[in-house]
Point group: C2
Chain length 294, copies 2
Amino acid sequence: MIAALFATLAAAAAAPLPQAAPAALPSDPVEADWRAIPDDELLVMTLAGGRRVLIRLAPGYAPEHVANVRRLALARWWDAASVYRVQENWVAQWGDATEKKPLPPGIAARPAAEFDLSAFRPAIRLRVSDAYSRTSGITADGWAIASGRPGTAEATGAGWMAHCYGTVGVARDASPDTGTGAELFMPIGGSARRLDRNYTIVGRVIEGAPLLSGLPRSDAPMGMYATEGERLPIISVRLASDMPAASRPKYQYRAADNVRFAAMVALRENPKPPMIGLGGVDVCDVPLATRPAP
Amino acid sequence: MIAALFATLAAAAAAPLPQAAPAALPSDPVEADWRAIPDDELLVMTLAGGRRVLIRLAPGYAPEHVANVRRLALARWWDAASVYRVQENWVAQWGDATEKKPLPPGIAARPAAEFDLSAFRPAIRLRVSDAYSRTSGITADGWAIASGRPGTAEATGAGWMAHCYGTVGVARDASPDTGTGAELFMPIGGSARRLDRNYTIVGRVIEGAPLLSGLPRSDAPMGMYATEGERLPIISVRLASDMPAASRPKYQYRAADNVRFAAMVALRENPKPPMIGLGGVDVCDVPLATRPAP
C-alpha cells in the first residue's frame, strides 16, 4: 500500500477496527481536555464560492487588536473585501484592497503594538531552543509562545506569540501602531518566525487554511495581485456570536495543561523507533488540535 | 500604499529608478556567484495543463538515489504518473498511484538509505541552533544541511540535509532501503524537519513549487486522493540532458561560499532596525536563490 510508504509517520491515524475500540494512547485527549471556543472568539470568514475559513481569536494575548477585529466584524467591514495578496512560501493577506474604505466608528485607529506578551506562561515547555527563541511552549489554552534570545541566557521581556503556519497577523505600515486589524495575513509556507516580535498576532486559522494557502501566487512585488480580477472576494466575516444561534459553528480546542498533551509533545520530541528523533520539536510543529463540538 | 504595510520586510524588492542604477548591496550576488546547474542535475516535470515543476537534483549528497531518479526519468517511467497525495501542512507526493508499474531495468531496487551525509561542510554556518539540530548551514553549492543533537554538544555522525519547504524526498516503506526514488514528496507547509535523518532527500524544487503546494488537500487518511479523478496527471518527467538541446531549461544557483552570501545571511540573523531580530535565522529560512541562466 502506498499508505505504508509513510507508515512510520502515521501516528494514530489508522481507522479503528470495527470489532473492537482501540486502547487509548497516553497521548490521546480525553473528553475533559476539550474546551469550548466562545462564540465571540470565533471569526467566520466566507469566501466567494461559499467556503469558510474559521479563525480562533486570541483576546487574552492581543486584547486591543482583537477588540478592533471584533468591532470590524460587527460593523460588517470585510463584506466585499478580498484576499489581495498571496506570496509564495510567505503569506496570504486580505482586507480592503482599495485602501479607501473608511473604518467604522469605535475602532482604535492607532492601537499600541501588541507584539510582545506581558507574561510567558507555557503549560508545556519544549525541551530545546529554536533559531528564533531560547525557549518556547504551548499555553494551557493552546497557543504557541516563545521567549528569550536564542543561543543565549538573555531575556527579552516576557515573551511573544510565534508566527507559525496558520496564525493570523496584523498587517501594518512602518510605525508599530499603524496596524488596526483591518488588514490581516496568514503564513502559507515555511517559517515566518522572523516576524516574531514585529507583528501582532490576533488568532489562528482552525479550519479552511488551505483555502488561503492553496491560492494562486502572484509574481508581482510582494505577491500583491496586480489586477482586480485576481483578487478572491470575501463575502462576509462574522463573529460567531453575531450569527443566528442555530447557525453558529461550535468549536473546541484541546487544552495543553495535562499529562496527555505533554505525552503527545514528548512523542514528537522522542518518536518511537524506527523513527529517528533527536529530542526536539519546533513549537510550530506541535499540533494545536481543534474540533467541532460534539 | 498597501505595499507599505510590509515596507519593513521589502528588503531590496523595490524596482530600480529608471534614471540611475541602484548601488549594489553587500548582500547582493555578483555575476561570478551564479553557477550553472548541469543539465543532468535538472529534472523537468510537466503536469497536466502543461505547467512545469523544475527540480534541482543533489547527486553529491544522495548519489544512489539520484542515480535511480535519473534512470527512472530516462526510462520515461513517470509519464502517466500522477500527484496522488496532498496532505494539508505536510506534503504533496507523486509517482505511480497504481503501485503496479514495474520498475525499469537498472534501477537499484533497495538502495541503502542516504538519510545522512558522509561529511558536514557548510560554507556558511548559522549562528544559532534550531529545534532539530545543534548546528546548520548552507553548503558552497547551495544546500541546507544540519548536524548534531539539538541542545547538546553530542555529535550524530556527520550531518544530513534539512527537510525544508520545497525539498524533494524519497518516499519509502518501513524499511530504510525500500525507497527507490520512484515515489517522491515535497513538504508544502510548515516544518517538515522531523523527517530529518528519516528520509533521503534527492533535490529541491526551484521553479513551480506552488503547482504542488497549491493543490487541493485531501481529507482522506494521510492526504491520499481517494479517487482517480482527484489525482493530477503528470505528463512527463525528463532530465534536461535528455531533452533536445534547444529546449532545455538552463538554470543557475547562487553559490554560498562568498562574503555576499554571508552578508545576506547576517542580515537575516540581525535585520536592520526597525525590524527586530534576535540574532538567529532558521536554515530553512535562508533563501537559496536560483535563476534562469541569462
